[in-house]
Amino acid sequence: MHIVVVGLNYRTAPVEVRERFTFAEKDLSEALQQLKLTKSVLEGVIVATCNRTELYVVVDRLHMCGYFIRTFMEQWFNVPREEFTQHLYIYEDDQAMRHLFRVICGLDSMVIGETQILGQVKQAFFKAQEERATGTWFNKLFKQAVTLGKRAHSETSIGESAVSVSYAAVELGKRIFGMFTDKKVLILGAGKMSELTVKHLYANGASEVIVANRTLARAEELASKFRGTPCTMEQALTRLGEVDIVISSTGAERYILDAGIVREGMKRRQSRPLFLIDIAVPRDIDPAIGEISNVFLYDIDDLEGIVESNLEMRKVEAAKIERMIELEMEDYYQWLRTLGVRPVIRALQEKGVSIHEETMDSLFNKLPELDEHQRKVIRRLTKSIVNQMTTDPINRIKEMAGTKQGDEALRMFTQIFALEDAVDMAAEKVNQSDATALGKPAVHLNENRQEPVPAYIPAGV
């Protein structure tokens, strides 16, 4: 069996294409059902966000699976394949797994390191589980991916720093004030950029917003969005003593804030610092103000410099996550290698239990004079013999299953202990216990097609 991902994203398809290939929330169940019915598909998860539509599938053969998935897309979206084939990417096995891990960690996102995708993939997986579209392979893989996504964000700082100018201003403010809960913000010029910045500050708890604009009507309009106070430019300049953060973005030709005004304001501020953000071009705030004690002045270039530095840092963190991904892939392969051995071990253990039970019944029938205590002792000791006899073979086959000759060893083991008939039933039980461990009901793959539950790993994976 093979893991395959077929999809399109913001890099391979423009928005006018992507918008034709979205799955509405209400249609997802039906889409998953249909995907399950697609030829060659054993398990499936559909990840659909504004930036990507991806179909993750476990297929029983690689050959033609791309064709079958494209057929599914053609039928579902009612778009001829010629119109979307050039936008599709198909990754198989290693690449598909790595792609899923990169996606869930935000490394494949437009804004590298964003966290939203983690929740989206998790939801997609839960939905597929709910629709019984996942099985042993994807239950393990997606669970591992979600855990990795969480670890990537908690163990590295990939998502910590701002990657937009407006957020950079907020991040800077946090380095000065920590929290904005008791801070007042003054906006000079009610432009789009300053609105966006104050929106972030407000969302981070800024207590009061004062909006100053040449036209008071626009100031009132913006102030109403943040339950703020409108005022004229002249009034605003007299209020420097009471505010903590000033965002300036007017269209003025000359500086509207000079050193004299700020010095006067600082006298009234006592020991409190003042954070000035000048996002206007040409600049609104005299750069000489930056020299005044306890005043922190940042213009648009400074903020862009911060964004650039943060992006660089995210790249460094991304490299760490790539290493984590490689380790996770190795873990998954390790699990895959033991996947085939688990039903065999279970079958052997069950056989041992069954033989033991039968022997005990026979023994107790022949020796009815034994009391309860004697029976218990005999039962315990004979059970111990069975366990001791099976422990070494079980440990050895676990080790051997991970080697190149693993398949051969498993076959021999099955033959020697005559477990051929018991393995299939044991595989079903292992599958059920895996699903229970994930907190979900047991998943039965492709019931309509009566395909066996995967128990052995094909050599190709």
């Binding site: 163990e155 590295t156 700082s157 910590e160 720093s161 991040e171 800077l172 946090k174 380095r175 000065i176 004030f177 920590g178 929290m179 006592q270 020991s271 409190r272 610092p273 930056g290 004690s293 306890n294 922190f296 940042y298 400074d302 410099g305 911060i306 530095s309 840092m313 963190e317």
Partner: protein
């Protein structure tokens, strides 16, 4: 080498390892190194406790009377405070700086002083006062060390932000406001402790009528330091100066505390017999 000395040696190695891992995390983010550094710090703390217990067992009293003991308890307080700080976010650099101080004191203590037993028979009359004086001075010293570390960080972050030098260190430090609050808090705890410790010392001078000691270098420098710290609170209350000025003030006060400690060699004050 006694068992207590062997434990002390071991804790130096553990401390060095802890510091190494913290350095590694501070140079380049490494959550694993930070965790390991904290783990070693816990071991250091455990070894310090073991050392004290062994000394108590061997000497029959809590080891507090010698310079060695004073510095040992000081480094113990620093380690304890660092462990408490690990619960605070963005505290890596604070812990690193605190432990550079703690480690230096631990090593120099080993090189310069010995943990030899001292005779206490001369001190019986002022025994209680002496213990209180040493304990309060020690705790005050530790709290003011923490305040100074925050003052240093404040100046560093202020410089970086003022000059728009944005880097990963800036990202990882607490905000100026938070650093300022911690600095205030530590100074607020350390000043009265040191103050009461000095009052006890002055009371002993008065009780023994050794008036000349009031002009002793140690007494003067400690008095000046306390005056600076009290001045800090008056100025702070009036909100006259920015936190940057207050940070410098804190560091000057701490420098005087250090001078006071180092002036032991030139001071007659601690050649105190209690007679």
């Amino acid at each position: 080498m006694t068992l207590a000395e062997q434990v002390y040696e071991a804790l130096i190695y553990m401390y060095a390892l802890s510091l190494l891992f913290y350095f590694s995390d501070c140079i380049r983010r490494n959550a694993g190194a930070k965790r390991t550094g904290t783990g070693f710090l816990v071991v250091v703390w455990g070894l310090q406790v073991t050392h004290v217990i062994l000394r108590m067992w061997m000497e029959g009293h809590f080891p507090i009377y010698t310079t060695f003991d004073f510095l040992f308890i000081f480094s113990f307080s620093i380690v304890l405070m660092s462990l408490i700080m690990t619960r605070v976010q963005r505290s890596e650099f604070v812990i690193l700086l605190l432990n550079i101080v703690g480690f230096s004191v631990t090593v120099l203590n080993r090189l310069w002083f010995t943990a030899g037993e001292i005779s206490l028979h001369n001190w019986q009359t002022v025994h209680g006062l002496l213990i209180m004086h040493i304990t309060l001075a020690n705790l005050g010293f530790a709290a003011l060390t923490v305040a100074s570390v925050f003052a240093l960080l404040y100046l560093f972050l202020h410089h970086k932000l003022k000059n728009k030098k944005w880097n990963d260190t800036v990202r990882r430090l607490p905000s100026l406001e938070v650093i300022g609050k911690y600095m205030d808090g530590a100074t607020l705890i350390g000043t009265p402790l040191l103050g009461v410790s000095v009052v006890l010392a002055v009371l002993s001078i008065v009780a023994e009528r050794r008036w000349h000691l009031l002009l002793d270098l140690k007494v003067i420098s400690t008095g000046l330091a306390i005056a600076i710290y009290f001045g800090y609170f008056i100025v702070k209350r009036r909100k006259q100066f920015s936190m940057m000025v207050m940070s410098r003030w804190t560091l000057i006060g701490y420098a005087l505390v250090i001078i006071s400690f180092l002036s032991n060699a030139y001071s007659a004050f601690h050649r105190w017999t209690g007679e």
